[in-house]
């Protein structure tokens, strides 16, 4: 089974990645599996300066999910490059660096700083963060703000590093934001970031999170994520998608692939099962084989095909199974 995939100009040996903020910079997960076995490690969104993040409590469990309000705690780009990126390079991990900023210039500064760095395979631009210049409205909730950031990052970034826009599902029409990012030069999309949610602690009778609201993730949001991938794939079929949101098994990942994702990130599932990414990879490979696919690529977007179009994309079952 050929599991390789392409995200813009980047070719990865397989389509299973970690999700930003759910794997730190790979080091801790390396206790459970070799991070070089993954398609890539997606690092926690980094900003220019060290950030304390939000006050605790920072998480609450919810039915089949959780909400978090970390507030992008991080060491700042310099420490990240010196420590985290160096460690990832040393361990042979392909790395997608997620960058975040409070204004367009911060994103640009980060892209410049990472330009030419051999350990950086791709940039994921986390535009689901508040725009300090726009009363804190999240970039990803506004097509103009999104396209401005993505355009600026694309121009500033290393041409060899694909730039993916990571979009928020908390919008009226995600294809509208996606189109704006595409027009601004996005090489692809990471779909989806968390949904804005909230839990009230019925003991204290106040919001459970220090940050009041937080991001909802986990299997609970998977149907929303699959829908977003489906819609963006339909609207912009030529651009690759890194799909995520509640992936816990190979069949979950397959839903995203069939909906149009060329690769997937495993996020919250890691908290319940630290080796989830490599397990998902093995399960996805087996699921593809059982369904008669000769390669991952044949399955990408397969769910959109009409019956006549499907013919020829599948091998006879037995052959497929044997190939696993």
């Amino acid at each position: 089974m050929d599991m390789s995939t392409r995200l813009g100009t980047l070719t990865l040996p397989n389509p299973v990645l970690t999700a930003s903020g759910c794997a730190a910079a790979g080091r801790e997960l390396h206790q459970f599996f070799d991070v070089a076995e993954l398609g890539a490690v997606v690092t926690k969104s980094i900003m220019t300066r060290p950030r304390s993040g939000r006050p605790t409590p920072r998480m609450a469990e919810t039915p089949s999910g959780m909400i978090n309000s970390i507030g992008l705690q991080g060491p700042g780009i310099n420490s990240f490059v010196e420590n985290d990126l160096a460690w990832l390079a040393e361990h042979g991990a392909r790395t997608v660096v997620s960058i975040a900023g409070g204004h367009t210039d911060e994103f640009v500064e980060l892209a410049r700083r990472l330009s030419g760095h051999p350990a950086v395979s791709m940039l994921e631009v986390n535009i689901s963060c508040p725009n300090v210049e726009s009363r804190g409205q999240v970039f990803a909730c506004d097509a103009i703000a999104s396209s401005r950031v993505i355009g600026a990052v694309r121009r500033a970034a290393d041409p060899a590093q694909p730039v993916f826009a990571k979009l928020s599902p908390d919008v009226t029409d995600i294809t509208h934001i996606a189109r704006a990012c595409a027009d601004a030069g996005a090489d692809g999309f990471s779909l989806i970031n968390t949904l804005l949610g909230m839990v009230i602690d019925t003991d204290t009778m106040a919001p459970a999170l220090g940050g009041v609201t937080g991001g909802l993730s986990g299997p609970a949001i998977r149907p929303v994520a699959v829908r977003c991938v489906w819609q963006v794939r339909q609207a912009l079929p030529h651009l690759p998608i890194l799909g995520m949101g509640g992936i816990r098994s190979g069949l979950d990942a397959l839903q995203f692939v069939l909906a149009g994702a060329s690769a997937v990130s495993v996020g919250t599932a890691v908290f319940g099962d630290p080796s989830a990414p490599v397990r998902v990879l093995a399960e996805l490979e087996q699921a593809l084989a059982e369904r008669g696919f000769a390669s991952l690529q044949d399955a990408v977007g397969f769910g959109h095909l009409t019956a006549p179009q499907r013919v020829g994309r599948l091998q006879p079952k037995a052959a497929g199974a044997a190939a696993s």
Partner: protein, 285 residues
């Protein structure tokens, strides 16, 4: 030491007051165990709506000898996850990740120590007591709880250390009062050079204050809500002063759960004091 994931058969579950004592077969975790470590247990079974693990301090591990390869922990019923756990029976299998966290620091040589446990917080102190005694350190226990049925490990503590002082809020066992009422006397009795504590945060802070007054070190194990337990999610942070004197939000699952009480900024837990490293970058967000 390396962290592993093990499918651990339950060897036994026994009641102790309001608590459930689990002994599970997890040889690789037992092998790496040092007092202060904890395990993260998956709850709810297949198709559970609970995706996050639950953390429990390791109350003992037997890498060799009789019961080789077992790990003990103590569960207080709290919410749905612990309720599920307390309904498990011997022979069933639970999924454990461990040993996790930074263990209690041991003195370089014999040093008198007081071990203070609140409620089930005494659980990790039992193996710690064994380690200290093995070093030749004289020890004393102070165990407290709201009520008698919430005391844990009194008998084991007695068998291990001899001297155990018990307090309960309602006076239903031992002296009526708080562990901190009797701690100064215990420290003075054995000329303690260090205090170890595990229990609710206000107790840890108070223990830290008493240690400070006696100019001795207090190593305390905290409990912060944890999503991952392995250091990747940043949910479990506390404001802790570093060697450079600056305060950072550090992960209690890897840099803790054991901290030097004097370094934890207790009153700033749940806040962002202005001098916190990186707090300035939060403005406007």
């Amino acid at each position: 030491m390396s962290v592993v994931q093990e499918q651990a058969e339950i060897f036994s579950v026994t009641r102790a007051g309001e608590y459930f004592q689990f002994t599970v077969i997890a040889p690789r975790i037992a092998e790496g165990f040092r007092p202060g470590h904890f395990v993260a247990v998956a709850v709810g079974g297949e198709n559970s709506a609970m995706g996050l693990r639950r953390a429990f301090a390791i109350a003992g591990a037997t890498p060799t000898g009789a019961f080789a390869g077992t790990v003990q922990f103590v569960v207080a019923e709290h919410g749905p996850g612990t309720r599920w756990l307390t309904q498990r029976r011997a022979g069933e299998v639970v999924d454990l990740v461990g040993p996790l966290g930074t263990p209690f620091p041991l003195p370089n040589g014999p040093a008198p120590a007081v071990l203070v446990g609140g409620g089930y917080g005494s659980a990790p102190l039992i193996p710690l007591a064994h380690a200290l005694l093995a070093q030749g350190s004289p020890i004393e226990f102070v165990l407290g709880a709201a009520t008698g049925s919430r005391l844990y490990g009194e008998l084991t503590a007695k068998r291990t250390a001899g001297q155990v002082t018990v307090t309960t809020d309602d006076g239903s066992a031992g002296e009526r009062g708080l562990v901190t009422d009797v701690l100064p006397a215990a420290i003075e009795r054995i000329n303690a050079e260090i205090v170890y504590a595990c229990g609710p945060m206000p107790m840890l802070q108070a223990v830290g204050n008493i240690a400070q007054k006696h100019a001795i070190h207090a190593a305390v194990a905290v409990e912060e809500a944890m999503a991952c337990g392995i250091g990747v999610c940043m949910t479990c942070v506390l404001p802790v002063r570093g060697d450079d004197g600056r305060t950072r939000l550090v992960r209690s699952c890897v840099e803790g759960p054991v901290f030097d009480a004097a370094r934890v900024r207790w009153n700033d837990v749940g806040h962002l004091p202005a001098d916190l490293v990186g707090a300035d970058a939060m403005r406007g967000h």
